[in-house]
Symmetry: D2
Subunit: 350 residues, 4 copies
């Protein structure tokens, strides 16, 4: 079977590039046995990033910066603008009086408000004033603009699918040079009209789009629901009392490419270990704790952001008081493409 | 063409029954040009039915009656136990200490609580205490039982799809002779866990059933959502500020055969006229007003129940104060079967 | 508990009709423990009905009859125009030169061609010439007309959901007084373009309707598929080598209210017994056999039609040669409404 | 507003890497205005690649090569194993007696047979013998193996979503070291049982998976359907008489990540220009023609493979005889993620 080659391999291989072909049998890394997981578990401390962010106010003006954001870069991804393989995260500062002009892009975004009170986002004709803990959606290709009409700084976590959109090579971006879009609906109309996902406002008519009609999921509601449920259940072994934010029209994820969740870990909670191909970026709303990711212990406290890459074994633990975590994930992408896979794992030492 | 028949028609027709065939050309009413609409618009006054209901407490015991319900019969349907062609409605009285034993049936039911406080319904292992304005579901073939543990009478509106289930000839009923089912979940767990339809409790796992997982949609929430929306919008031309109750899992109707809605008509509201093949039974939660149905003016006030048959031209009007109407409908049935049809209509004189 | 009533029951009950209410506790038959099954298993012999049908050509002209159809009436349904609770069946004769003028109705129809060659049905702008074994759809509210341009009689089985549509009280019918509709597509275009359900003709664009875009499912294809599969499998225990006709757009039933199937029972096949809430009307394409329905043995041969009511225990058996049965059913209705239920059963003696 | 920075920017920027953050305002290329389209339109000539492929039989044995495949590399993608941003294509040679042992991977694959007769693919327990023009699916994570039991060489086009799966970092691969999997179904059972997508084989039961149950879509059927339709229509302005291969269970794409189509361009066909974010790899089954891609004219003939990248303006033209093209695409991916966008374009000069 292993008779010597009758053609000089080197001669053969040297001919191939001219024809734009290459042998599969020399492309050793092409079909990998498991995710490469270059991304690693990591934490961005809020006090550190916040300090740098405020300092950046003295480095560039908002107008110069266009967006005053510090992107959170996963140390394993070699400088790529990504917190995990497919997810982008950044902390954005908007100072009083600053404006992010009207624009839209193929990348979808979520914002989770960290501090400040009084900045707004306008999306598709509706303006929403944001408060800490609010989740604000700016879906794929919707016009949006931001501004801070309060007298204090505003900081929020940006979550986008930029790495995904760029890797798929389907980016689009438009910025028509107007500060603000025309408002065509009452402020926060969607939050009020769809206030109760179980009651559908029929005057809103059919909703044919693929994303949630709700601009702002306010924290006041989220927290009440979390607390009521926590009085009643311990939730899941891995994630405690955990809710997925949903699109009330169909009960699915809020966006086709980004999912969001919020979870309460009771004091002393020690979660079971598992892994799944989806990755997540977490933001600590309240409490202290630690997450062991592939054997490395990440401790976290209020305001911190941390990343759990896809297929990393992980387990969460709360400290002596309850903790609340917000997270966003690429789970909807992997679900849609039938590439979501989950596996249990042994408890880790760390 | 119209040559005289060569066979004696009477001889021919007389032969047919033996073969279980009949000529289509003699079945004149078979294919009708439009709904026959035997059901008519009608109102059941709450003070009258309530008085009879309380009186019935002296006629039969709950044990004798099994269910102390006065069925609301549409005057056009010739004594059938139906408020419209496909919908059953009844007012049920449960006196202190009375119990409706555990049972289940193919007919699906909704309850809308009219007065009293402290009676319960248990459904599939979960008990819910009911208060006025609450909507309670007992879906097709779920075990349920009721009881009144308070010290006052409890009255609710029963809405079922009995006429539909019987006409399709698919009834089933089981009553194992036990007063109460085993409770396997905390009281009102579903209402709390799915409290906010926009947040999905992930510890509840997949939900493969065709009906809403929520047992009780409490009035406190419904009223707040109605009021908030009314501050903001006039809603639809026909129905004012109207919400459909939905299944939070998929955003659809609460049950495959019954839909529910609640609407606020602002003071002085005068709705546009239209008609649709679906019928509805309305319960007046608050306020006074009138609904013109096929030219007949039905006035209504608090606690009254009224029926609008399928394909009847109708328009609602509120009096000098706002009115709130709850309703249930066979719209999901007609939607599923592609038999839902809607048409505008001219304003009626009445 | 059983203290004597303090109100005279007869006085009480006599007051109720004036208020359009009746006591549930006196409506004994309202909630039945199981389907009442007034419909019975029964066979209509083709030679008998065919003879009567041809004879009817001498009784009335097509113009007088509008449709020369002998309806197949279930002996248990007391003269109702129904073969089972929800299904209508009829055998239609169209003589050379006769025409059934353009019309449409809310009831949906299927036709299964029994004999003759050269009559046509036109549906929504497309004309299809029909041959024995072809299945032709005329969905809810589509314009259709028929005619016989051949020189021989044409007989087909009509299957409709008339009982359902009438019971739901949503009939509509229009007949504008024109013999033929305008043809806007090539003859049999849908059968050719969607010839292979696995290949979707993209020039047909989106298909938003709820029914199959295919007008005619020709027998030449059906028979080949049946035969090929039969070389390979015995199919299911109850129904042998059985295929459901599907809507190629979504893989579902051909119509929202009527399902169709075709099955090959190999020589000597003896099917297992079961029952389900859906009913079916069968047409014998080929072969002899028997179906035991609730203990009664129905023997059948080529051209015969027989009915199996909902919830009737039934089992099929083929004779010494293979048999092929076409059937239509109300299964899609019960599925949509979550009222489809199936149960195994013991083999019956008959 | 543009006051000079009060912090030395260079000092500031040099601090950031230690905290794993970077300023968004210096990441200029992150949000691009439109797809970068590094991939270019290109053709791989069949006679050239075929010659190299046969020559490779003398360079390595199948055992050494594991898979004797020449990957088709898009010249614009800098050596990446990709024909377009998200699609992998290769031409595979299997010599008589050679075997590709049992394995499975997260990447999904389609094969389109180019020449030879008698090699097989086995998928999930079913073996299929492949002939020119057949489309064979090996969905995500299904066990499969190939072998050539004929006495001639076999060449097919491999289409996979490897670039997508690797970019999302969700690869998996298993190869248990067995040449062949156990066959649990008759050869080509799925092709026969689902032969006619409009007829569903009920004995196959529910199908819960996300991909088509059909292993082989044989050319004999495809060609007949193409030819019949071409007698009847010119199809679409852009693609002529074009069919999408579908999953007969739900009418959707054959795989969640790969779509397939086949189109007949009549002699002299000159297609309209347009573009869409999805890319495609085409294989010329028959005929000669040219496709203008972003202004560059790609001529093609029998057996050639060519790529049209996402968002490239393109238009097809057939020569003096009809042409038939097979293609596979990432359209299902972009559809699922709501990132599919289409735009008309002006006719190009080339």
């Amino acid at each position: 079977m292993a008779s010597p080659p009758t053609v000089d391999p080197e001669v053969f291989y040297s001919k191939l590039p001219a024809f734009h072909v290459e042998p599969l049998w020399r492309a050793r890394g092409l079909m990998r046995p498991a995710p490469g997981r270059e991304a690693v578990g990591c934490v961005w401390r809020y006090d550190e990033v916040r300090r740098l962010l405020l300092e950046s106010g003295d480095v560039v003006t908002a107008a110069e910066a266009d967006r005053r954001v510090l992107m959170l870069l996963n140390p394993g991804l070699d400088g790529a603008a990504a917190a995990t393989a497919n997810l982008y995260a950044g902390l954005q500062l908007v100072l009083p009086g600053e404006v992010a002009p009207k624009h839209r892009h193929a990348a979808a975004a979520i914002r989770f408000i960290v501090e400040g009170d009084g900045a707004y986002t306008a999306v598709d004709g509706e303006k929403s004033v944001m408060r800490p803990g609010d989740l604000v959606l700016t879906p794929n290709w919707t016009w949006h603009d931001h501004g801070n009409e309060s007298d204090g700084p505003m900081i929020w976590l940006d979550g986008l699918d930029i790495p995904l959109v760029n890797k798929l090579d389907v980016p689009f971006f438009e910025s028509p040079g107007e500060d603000r879009q025309l408002l065509t609906r009452p402020d926060d109309a969607s939050a009020r009209h769809w206030a109760q996902g179980r009651l559908r406002p029929l005057w809103e008519g059919d909703w044919q789009r693929r994303y949630s009609p709700v601009v702002n999921y306010p924290w006041t509601v989220t927290e009440r629901v979390l607390r009521d449920a926590a009085a009643d259940t311990d939730g899941t072994p891995h994630d405690g009392v955990v809710f997925r934010y949903t699109n009330p029209v169909d009960g699915g994820h809020v966006l086709p490419t980004l999912g969001c969740a919020v979870q309460l870990l009771k004091a002393g909670f020690r979660g079971a270990a598992h892994r799944h191909t989806s990755a997540a970026v977490y933001h600590v709303v309240r409490g202290n704790g630690a997450t062991i990711v592939d054997g490395a212990r990440l401790t976290w406290g209020p305001g911190d952001t941390f990343a759990v890459p896809g297929w990393a074994v992980h387990e969460h633990a709360a400290g002596d008081e309850e903790a609340i975590l917000f997270s966003f994930t690429d789970e909807p992408v992997l679900e849609s493409l039938d590439l979501l896979r989950t596996a249990p794992a042994d408890r880790q030492e760390a």
